[in-house]
Symmetry: D2
Subunit: 350 residues, 4 copies
């Protein structure tokens, strides 16, 4: 099987990359002797403390297996089945989780908001909440914000405050899907607390996998009252790892010496390099401002096909003409430049 | 943190042990370059093929994060919400999964059967099915068998046939909870197919974690019709790993050169050594025949407390006087002998 | 309390009217002596047979308490939790059931189709199904058609065939929300079988309440294989009446001598009278063709407020300027004419 | 169909009887003109006020279609999916609702307590709660008490206090299944408040159907905080009647002039008459003290079969030798005496 894995890095998804060295070393380090199961081990305690340090507050931390579960468990803890969840129409919880939020919450309806660049606008929240107040319409209860968004854009601190304040004004609890939270923090250059609890986020799904881990996301409750019995919820949903240390150890490895931010910054800068170069190619058009680790570029079909033929892997998103190019902790300048060269050569032939 | 991990091996649980060398090496090996997510990678294909080889049939294979999820997803695929699941009153799905089967199936009731040594008896199945046939009683639809059982015992080939034949006679679909399937195969000395599809098992949850992996169980459908759309079910339940190769690679490592069986045989033999020695100590009494990697021994409270004070870790099970001592791939003769020596010394002081 | 009930008939909803004489007489008739519970009574058998006669086929019939339950139970029997249900964006199952389909099905996502006059168009079905085929998108499994629609329009026989044929081509099972099925049949002048099983409908929720009963809808499975164990599903969902005869007897009363069609025809003709008269008033504008028992008319706010002040009761729908005026089995020409006179007088004052 | 309904009254179930005159008259009375749907009508307001008068407190009242739904909705409002519900092993929610509590609550496990005469004992509650406190065991959250019990027995005021106090001590919320609450009140001769909120009951499912109505139970929240958003829960579950007045009007009819208690007293006294007479027949043996409207009597199979052959209808319960004879608002002394005569004659022939 080796041959198949020795291909160059690709732009298909940041989850196509492997385990970064810091996370892998921590796995190896944690693999000594016996440790109690289900999170009662020193690595899990340490990782939780480190996350509290990162956010500079006494939040409650839970490690689960993947992002779909993290989001759905968090939303289920905010909602009853007859509530509704407001999110952007392109949010991952709506478009890429096969109804997981509805399943975990036993039927909470996901109500869709539109907004430019993948970002929710306050008036859309107001519209959805004020639309109706009768029992035939599931009562809005949670606002789900994706930071960074599925379009690779980010809410500025000001945008975030506006959106969350609107949600809070209507009694909504606030969930942040942070599958690429590291990229957002790295890009904004803020402290993590500023764009989470200080802005009014109640629970954050802090992504580890796309940042360089094998498996495992952290659900971080800033409103610790909401975290009550969340351990039972995880257990019942098959999201409590018996050998938990192998999830939490990676977090220790990643948080030490700010590896998580370093990797995110690297991925972001690779994306910027890619965007800058592609923007200069005639017939290609950048669709969304490149603010984190993804580049969305509109390409003629001939270019897309040509790139596929040359062995490049990436997905189109939103429309068949919109290529989504994701950079990762292990993307290199050579990868970027090789891709750009191929794209340029194909575009020039048109 | 190192100090805490450099303690000797314990008998608390086979999930307190770490990752065995074969699984770890495979993880390292898989950590090269990029690979497609969600199971579309060569390691997952290879692991699935290897499992098909192990069972000598064209079964369908899915990798999920843990045993609770594996069991619950499998049972949910056998049942509608108004069906019931028959299992032993000490089955893991009943006693240790916090209602996960009910949650995943949206309400399927778990009906309890009693039986000696943790094993279901045919007449108990018949009793539960024949008890009532009206719509006020959830219709029995699935029979869940644990092999090896929670008491460390195993169904002989003959016992298995009897129990499954009874279930089939009443139209039940058959699930096998094989969290310790490896230990059962190693102990019985049969080929895996004999105690699964040839005996009538429709779906097996084949345990990897307790056998020496970090995370990941295989759900193996022998009735491939039942596997239809199971990938959607996994995805919706937050059980589809994005970096799937890190689950499946361990399986490749474990199945190569029969490491899975070698580890199971080792754990079984350590348990046998432990049982034999403990049986010779006055005032201790073996509760169940030691057939796999667990020893259940009734001890005076003073012995239990004394062992705890000496730093030994283990749980009591069923009653506070029944110590459950689990051996693992990394249990050594020295661990066993040291434990026995302490137990003996304590018992003799009474 | 009498005074409050002696107000004139209103146009708020066809469920604001009482029990029609035929249904009430049947209730009284059924109220003799003892009868077995849970549907094992002669009235239920008789009502089921009469429904089979109406549809001229061997369908399976179940009586449940209301329309929300009927629709949700039917859809849950067509779908697994990871499936999706396609319906018009203004369908009752989407807009007026507080997430009941998602709750009953344990998370099936409702995907919205747009289309003129409240009717689904084939290309919208194709769009939703072809959009994606990966496991991250809940697999389309059911097509829900409302006949008559929430806008009071109806699918012609030809339109119905086109829409259903498209659904079937993509493997969708077909549910018909027939809360106002009687009005549709009366308006189209077809035999019930033509717009149900002969057109490909798998399960119909045949509305009784809006037609003149106190409580109770019939779920009619034309694909009888799908009806398997539906009785268990009803029971578990709290939808199996113990004194079932009081639901089914009304059906006997309504189906005898075609009272159901007579009442529907009457309500339809009252709506037609209302539409014709309102269409002649300047500044009012009919929004949708009046094909059954509802009139949708765009009115200046001053007219709407004026009518409310005069004591008329009705709702606005879709927008605050769109009055929805529902006629019922007991609407009289005098009611209609009095309303029209008030509307005219208010409009002329503008 | 008339012939089939002109059979004599039977002892099969109190839900086999029809609508009592007071409830029927109220239905007829409510069937005038139009009324707003979904409970916004004067009958529903009136019935709710009357129930508040009955309990002499400001409770919150909701009307739903049947007892299964009432119990399940109430329990779901007390529990999250990972909680457990404690009830007697013969409770209706366990034995006769096809997993409805698990379905409505999305997986709350029902834990069974044993106890004499169908009544829970405090030590059983303590046992279930204290058994385990880890996340692998669903956290006990609700205690469900049936008053009168499925065996026709009743908790005395003292017994009730003991059981509820124990539950409260462990933080359990208290649900009372009062399908035959009227019979319990009538038998105990207490005021309704004494055996409900004054004893610590948080929510009561107050049965109407078995007391003489066509359909409809009242869910009465004494802890009004728990009633928050219960209207949404009912709506989503298909338990919000559009023509609600036809449920609530019956309650008005029944509560006026204490018809509900008069009927319950009558049914109780018929059961007492039956018990007294049967107790005097050799070879028959009363199984449980007759405290409400059911008589449980152990009979030789020949007697049971003989009674069936003579056309009597009743069920056996718990065992095939235990006849359950239910009296109802319409049971007459002649019915009782005729049954007794037949039983006596059959028993004497043995």
């Amino acid at each position: 099987m080796k041959a198949e894995f020795q291909t160059r890095r690709q732009f298909a998804s940041d989850n196509n990359s492997g385990i970064c060295p810091e996370a892998f070393a921590a796995l190896a380090e944690a693999n000594r002797g016996h440790a109690p199961g289900y999170g009662n081990d020193p690595w899990t305690a340490k990782a939780s403390d480190m996350i509290r340090d990162v956010f500079e507050t006494k939040c409650e931390v839970f490690f689960v297996f993947n992002g779909t579960a993290a989001n759905s468990l968090a939303l289920a803890s905010l909602c009853q089945s007859y509530h509704s969840i407001l999110c952007h129409e392109h949010a991952h919880v709506e478009t890429a989780e096969c109804g997981a939020p509805e399943f975990y919450s036993n039927g909470s309806k996901v109500l869709l908001l539109s907004g430019k660049d993948g970002k929710i606008e306050s008036k859309a929240i107001e519209g959805a909440v004020m639309k109706r107040t009768d029992v035939h319409y599931p009562k809005p209860r949670a606002l789900s914000i994706t930071q960074a968004t599925e379009m690779g854009t980010i809410y500025s601190l000001d945008e975030l405050h506006k959106v969350i304040d609107t949600g809070k004004r209507f009694g909504l609890r606030v969930h942040m899907d942070g599958a690429r939270f590291a990229n957002a923090v790295a890009s904004l250059g803020v402290s993590p607390k500023e764009i989470t609890w200080q802005a009014g986020v109640d629970v954050l799904c802090f992504g580890g996998t796309k940042n360089g881990m094998a498996v495992g996301e952290a659900v971080v409750f800033f409103d610790t009252e909401l975290a009550k019995e969340f351990d039972y919820r995880c257990k019942q949903a098959g999201q409590l790892a018996s050998k938990m240390r192998f999830l939490s150890a990676s977090w220790v490895g990643m948080l030490q010496n700010d590896a998580w931010l370093r990797h995110a910054r690297h991925a972001n800068s690779m994306a910027k390099r890619l965007e800058t170069a592609l923007a200069g190619i005639p017939k290609l058009k950048i669709s969304f401002p490149c603010e984190t680790n993804g580049v969305f570029v509109r390409m003629p079909q001939a270019v897309i096909k040509g790139l596929y033929e040359k062995g490049w892997k990436f997905y189109t998103h939103v429309s068949p003409d919109d290529a989504r190019l994701m950079c990762s902790w292990d993307t290199t300048e050579e990868d970027v430049d090789a891709f750009v060269a191929d794209a340029k050569s194909l575009a020039e032939k048109l």
